[in-house]
Every structure is written in C-alpha cells, then in structure tokens.
Amino acid sequence: MKRNPTDPDDGVSRRSVLAAGAAGLSLSMSGCMDNVRSVVSRDGDEQLSLSILTVPTEDGRATAQIADHLEENLRTVGIDASTVIRSRSEFLEQSLIDGDFDIYVGRHPADYDPDFLYEALHSTYARANESGWQNPFGFASTLFDRRLEEQRRLDGDERRELFVDRSYNFLDTLAAEKPFDPICRPSEIRVARSDRFDGWDEDHRHLATRTGYLGLEPTDDDIERLTALVTDARPSRNVNPLSATVRERGTVVDLLYDSLGTVVYTDEGIEVASWLAESWTEVDRDEIGHPDDESNGDSKTDDEPDGDGKTDDESSGDKTPDDSDDKTTLEITLRDGCTFHSTDDDDDGEPVTARDVAFTYRFLEDTTLGQSSTPAPAPRYRGQTSAVDEVVVADDADDTLWLTVDGGRDVAERALTVPILPRHIWLPELEDRISDFDDFSVEQGEWSLVTTDSVEPIGSGPYRFESQSERSYLHLERFEDHFTLREDLEEDHLRGPLVDELRFSVEPNNQGAISRVENDSADLMSSSIDAHAIGRIPEDHDDVVRLEDDSWTFYHVGFNMRRTELGFRKAVCRLIDKEWIVENIFYDHAEPLATPVTDAWTPDRLAWDGEDPETPFIGTDGDVNVEAAHAMLESEGYTIDEDGAVLRRG
C-alpha cells in the first residue's frame, strides 16, 4: 500500500509544532519557545511533541474529554502533547479549511450511506486541498481510490457484499492506514413534550433531518408554535446552506430547502424516497437523446453569469463510450406546481423548475460557474455531487430532467438528497461578486458566497425563514404552499408542516434544556443530549417522552497525514481506550467502533468485540501500560531517553 508520499520526515515535524500555535502572535510566540527548546537540544534528542486540536468543553464536552484522555495518555508515555482549543466554527476552519493540525478530536457528520467515505478519503480531494469534510487528512492512495470508485458502481446486494463479505476490503485498509480512527458512535437521545404534540414516535422520523419536524400534530388548535432547543448558537447567526463551518449537520437547511428525494427510515433500512421529485426511473442513457446537443446545451449556458464568461466547462467527466456501463441515468419528474418561498409577502414565489435543479448541481460543483480560474466547489454536498456526471433538462417540459451519475443507483439516489437552490437568488448573488472578469479567482470554501449570511435563505422547503437573533433564536414559519400540505398525497412519508411556527431557541446548557422541556417552556430538545446529561431526563414524567434515533455520526481522531507517519498514528490509536471512553465519558450511551460505517455495512472482523481488532488499547481501564507502550514505540524506531521521554526520530 502506498503511503502519502509528501511526508518524508518522521513523526511529527518541527513545523507542525510551530503551526500548532496557530495564528498571529501566538504563532510567533510559541515559535520562539520552540526555537529555544531546539537550540538547547540541537543534537537530535528532542522530545516528540504534538498538538491535539479540539473544542472547548462548552461546545462539546465529550470531544474535550476524549482529547483530555488522549493528552494524558500521550504525556504518560513521554510524548509532549498539548491541546489546542478553538470554538466550534474555528475548529472546523482550522481542521477542514486550513488543514492546520497534527491531530484533532471531533465528531464526524458522516452519512446514512457509506459512500461518505468517498469524499472523506479520495485522493482527489487531498491533492486539491479542498475545504470541508473532503479528505482533511491528506490521505492519498491510488489503490484505495479504486476501491472507493468500485463501491460506487455497485448496487444492492453486490455492493453490500463488497463491504461485508469480501475478505480484505477498503475498510480493512482504512483500519490499517489510520487516516482517522473512529472512536464511538453516540446514541442520539432527545426529549419532547407529548402533551402538546402528537406523533413523536412515529416511524420514519429522525430529528436531525426534516422528517423529525413534519407531521407533528398539535394536540390543541391553540398551539401555534413549536419551540425546539438547540445547544449550538450557529443557526441563529448563519443558515447559508453551503458553509462548512456553521454546521455539522443540516437540520435547518433540510427544513428551508427541499431536495429531490428525502431520506426515510424504514424497518428494512434507510432509503431515499420521493420528495420534490414525484418519481424517478432508471432509463437508458441513449434515450435522452444527445446530451451535448446544442438545444440541450442552452439551458446550461443560460447559467453563465453576465459578461464575457469563459466557456462552459462541462468537460469534467471523461465521456468515453466504454465506461457508460458504469453510469446510471435517472429520468426525474418534478412535482407539479411547487414554488420557492416568496421574497415579499404579497408575491407568489417563483416556480421550482428543472432549470433550478440543473443550476443547483452545476453550482454546487463550481460555485463560480466557471468564472474563476480554478473551480470552487461548494464545501458541502461534495460527495453527493461529485458522482454527478451531467444534468440535462428536457426541451419541452419544465418538470423533467435526466441526471446521470458515474456509479450505481445507490449513489444516484444519494445525489438526490442535496438542497435545491433557487437560480433567481443565487445567480444574481454570484454576478454581484464577480467584479473583475480578467482576474477573478476565489478560494474554494472560503469565498464570500459560501460563507456569507447575507444571501436570502429562500428555498422551497416546508418551513420558510422568518427571523433570527444572534445567539438567541432562529424563527421559521410554515410554508403554506408546500406540496406536503396538499390533500391528494398518498405516500406515508410525505408529511407536512402542521405547526405554524417553528422556533429554534438557543440553550447552551444541556441540563437547562432538559428542565425547560420538563417545565413546559419548550417542546423539544432538538440537539441530541450530551451523554453526561442523559441521566437528568425525568424517568416517569407523564408529558415528557424520551426519543432515541438511529445515529451514523461518530467521534473520531483525525490525523494530518502530511505530518504524521503510519507507525506514529498506530501508536496514538493504541493509546485510546475506546471501551473506557464509552463507559466513563458516554456512560454507555455510545458504542465503540473499529470502522466508521454503520452496522449494516460492517464486516464481522471489524465489528467491535471487546477491543479494537487492529489497534487494541495498550493498558487497562483507561490507564496506559507505560512499559508496553515504550516497547511498542521502540519497535517503531523511537528512542526513549532515561527520563522516559519519547524522542524524535533522526
């Protein structure tokens, strides 16, 4: 297996310690200190040191506690570890956008489908240095890339087999190479008032997605508002659907925007069901005529911002005829008569057309629509859209389009879950920002269009944006024209917004949030409750229900592969006692993990069985066995000095 070739030096480089001090003065100050240290020990017997990037306890107590556990064990074995604390959004900026970390502890948003590993680990994203959850580790392996591509092409049982049955697959590679180490998957537990709303425990409901907030029936006609508490203040500040730093998960975006398909939870598993699209069927790609035909091209060139734009860059896919077998084309029919929220109360909203859909996919693929010298993909939804090969709008109908992906049906359907953005809002916003055509280039993931909070949050979703107040609340109102409120719908999962107002109110304290639900000043704790506060949920309260949802997010330690080498990463992983973490930090409200995919996709050999099959903890009950750890480090080529400090190699 080929490792990251850009990492010639051993262990954690000196540069990384410099960088660990982060921005501004602190950088230069810690730099000075480091220089002093290295002057004293110039002959190479310098202690191995590294920084652990994490969030403050108020932003994620479990994350901070895991970092604490790791720091303590690293120090115990003689590695000079220190934590670097950044607020939630600064943490994401530093790890996902700047790539400025040795290792970090965080929570991965993941996805219901294991294809999220594609954006997490494909080398394309490491090379392009992309912003967002796309390969922040800098992992690059051609063989691994091929496996990731292979799983995209397969479907159904065949695909599952690749994950679960094949004797050595890329999950094993992942466990062996350790670009990141999954620690545990927390239970998602919430509390809600059952006396004010009915339907909390219905099927297909997940409170991290739109499904959780639809179809909730007020028990009394007077009840007009659902107050949902969130511990995270970011939605009260910015709801830009493209930003990588203002959210991990997209609950609010899910409510403001529709996607073509929606994820539903059934007894058989998770599937993508019709939403803004009434239906889709797999068709032969030839049936849609010639996609490169002039007439079809029209709708795309319309999306060029005004001015002397460069030529349409539709050349991304290598459209040789022989790989068309690996592609899937869906013919998609949009639901009739859907509109976006109106910008003005008197107006009717603009209709949602196939052109908006085509615009969305093109825009997510490059938020400058070809105007920048290098493309700037949206930092979110990268995995979903990266498989999209082309989107063709029917000439004669507003409601039909064809979407072709490089991959199987599973991957095609996952692509249907991105929010559909209104062309009439985003295109002018883009044009406003292109001031100088000759020299327009942007930093992917950091330029104003994907970070701003000033783009009107207009979608076609079941709730529309009403107001927000920083650090206090985000107020949504029911979108009366949403298709789910029509009477002729038959499918079970098409539930509508039944409550007039939905207010996400910021309550940073978990216990405070629980008691507010308990004493009826809120209807729901929308953020999943931190493990330490789960014990505070009232056991036998008549009107408070405890809700438990499936979870696919996981806590993990991410490594910067540009700064760490394999032996070191494995050593660090062996200093993490996942069983102990689950017991003492999560009070057993989590399951330890050896591989990041959900149970249905986990092969037996990587299922948790008392210890990590690849990197078992070196010690007992959270306490590291120093002698054994030193022996392990020595076998990796590290020297331990007489004081028990691990020295840098070479």
Binding site: A23, G24, P56, T57, R61, Q65, D68, E71, N509, Q511
Partner: protein, 278 residues
C-alpha cells in the same frame, strides 16, 4: 432565566445595601449627604457619565468585536501548568456553594457599596477616584479582551473531567448570566479580580473613615479573587494580570482625579491670565 438571576442579584444587593449603610456609614453622614446632594452630584456627574459610557462601550465591544486577537490558551497553560487544580483538591460542596454565592452576589455588592459609601464622604475626591478607577478597569479590560483570545480553565480539555461539582452544572442560570455578560473567550485579564482588588485598595485608603468596611471588603475581595480560580473561570495568570491592572488603574485614577478638578482648572486659568496680563 436571565431575568430571574438578575432579579435575585438585585434582591440580595437590595437587602445587603441598607443594612451595610447603617452599619458602616452611620446616620450622620447619610443625613449630610442628603443636604449636600446637589453640589456633590454636580462635581461627580462627569465621572458617572464617563463610567456609564465606558460600560456601554465595553458591552458593545465585547459582543461585536471581531476575532482579531491572538490565541493564548496554550501559552497560559504552558506558563502555569496545572496550578488551578489545587483548588479542586480542597473542593467541598460547602465551599462550592460559598464561592458561587460570592462570585455572583458578593461581587455585585462589593462593587456597589463603596460607590454609596464614598459618595457619603464630605470630600468627594475618593468617590471620583473610584469611578475613574472603575472606568479605567473596564476600558483597559475590554482592549485586552479583544487582543487576547483565551478560554478559561472550565473550557479547557484538561479540566473537562473535573467539572462535576462546579457552579454551572447545578445552576445553569449562572451560566446564562455569565454568558450574557461575557464571551467565553474573555478571560484575560480577570475583571472580577481587578475590580475587587480596586475596591480593596480603596478600602485600605479609607480605613480611617470606614474601619469595619475595610475588614469586610478585604474578606469579600479575597474571596472573589479565589472564587474565579476555584470555579475554574479564570487561570492564575488572569488573576495576576487582574491584580496588576487594579494597581495601574488606581495609580492612574489618583493621578488624573484632583489634577484637573474644576477649582484647579479655574485656578490655573486665572494664573495664566495673570501672567499674560503682566
């Protein structure tokens, strides 16, 4: 919830204040104050106005200041190590209750009482100096907050596991209060420390007029300063910086106030005119 806490603070201070006025100041002084209310107010008004302005500015800047400072949490911890943990070793539920009460109520009382007490002194110079020192504390403090971004110990990973017994865990409303007043990255320096120390220094200056207050103020001020560390809100470095800030502010206040008093300025002007006339 916030209103609830503020009301409670107001009630506690509202009860403590009249009791301590009777105890420390005495009837005679208070009566004279009422008689001389107008002239005293006239002299003191500019100082109160400045303090009000500084407080408003302080609040606005804390809420809206951009992230332009440098991150110092790691540096602070490098300097003091795990010093703050010694308070965890002596921690008991009673002490926690005491320091929590001191941090919220004791502090509010400590700052408000001397305002009244010094206003009741016939020479308003001390009052004006105190107001100037308060203003300086807040003004210099907010500049440092913007320049130095640091999380307090309670937000630092190393203490993540120790938080079980602490103030906020049992009383989320306090967290609400401090969050409202403060962003969690505003820890350097400790303004709780600098203002308490400022009051302490003034209490020392006025020990002849208010001997009992000197004792009480010292006890409360020292308790507040310890509570910031005991409750893991501030690092020892923040406290040391707070003490230094207090000394600087008091010294500056002493220099400024009195130098440019109304009489002084008028005197100098006449002086000047006389010289010019000559």
């Amino acid at each position: 919830m916030l209103v609830e806490v503020l009301t409670r603070v107001a009630i506690v201070v509202g009860i403590l204040l009249p009791v301590s006025l009777a105890l420390f100041i005495g009837r005679e002084r208070l009566e004279r104050t009422i008689v001389e209310l107008r002239p005293r107010l006239r002299i003191c008004a500019p100082y109160l106005a400045v303090l009000g302005l500084v407080l408003i500015l302080n609040r606005v800047m804390r809420q809206t200041a951009p992230n332009m400072g440098f991150h110092a949490t790691e540096l602070i911890r490098d300097i003091e190590g795990d010093f703050i943990l010694i308070f965890q070793e002596i921690s008991t539920p009673e002490l926690t209750a005491y320091f929590s009460a001191i941090y919220v109520y004791g502090y509010a009382f400590l700052l408000i009482f001397p305002g009244v007490a010094y206003f009741a002194m016939s020479d308003t110079k001390t009052f004006r100096r105190l107001m100037a020192a308060y203003s300086l504390n807040y003004a210099i403090g907010v500049v440092l907050y913007i320049l130095v971004i640091a999380y307090g110990p309670r937000n630092h990973t190393i203490f993540a596991s120790e938080l079980g017994v602490m103030l906020y865990e049992h009383s989320p409303q306090y967290q609400r209060l401090t969050r409202e007043v403060n962003r969690s990255v505003n820890v350097f320096p400790s303004l709780h420390t600098s203002l308490s120390a400022t009051v302490g220094i003034f209490a020392y200056y006025t020990r002849d007029s208010y001997p009992k207050w000197f004792v009480v103020a010292t006890v409360i001020a020292v308790s507040v300063i310890i509570s910031t560390m005991y409750l893991m809100i501030h690092w020892a470095v923040d406290v040391v910086a707070g003490l230094a800030l207090a000394v600087v502010c008091v010294a500056l206040a002493n220099k400024i106030v009195g130098r440019w008093s109304y009489d002084d300025v008028r005197g100098r002007l006449t002086d000047l005119r006389r010289r010019l006339d000559r």
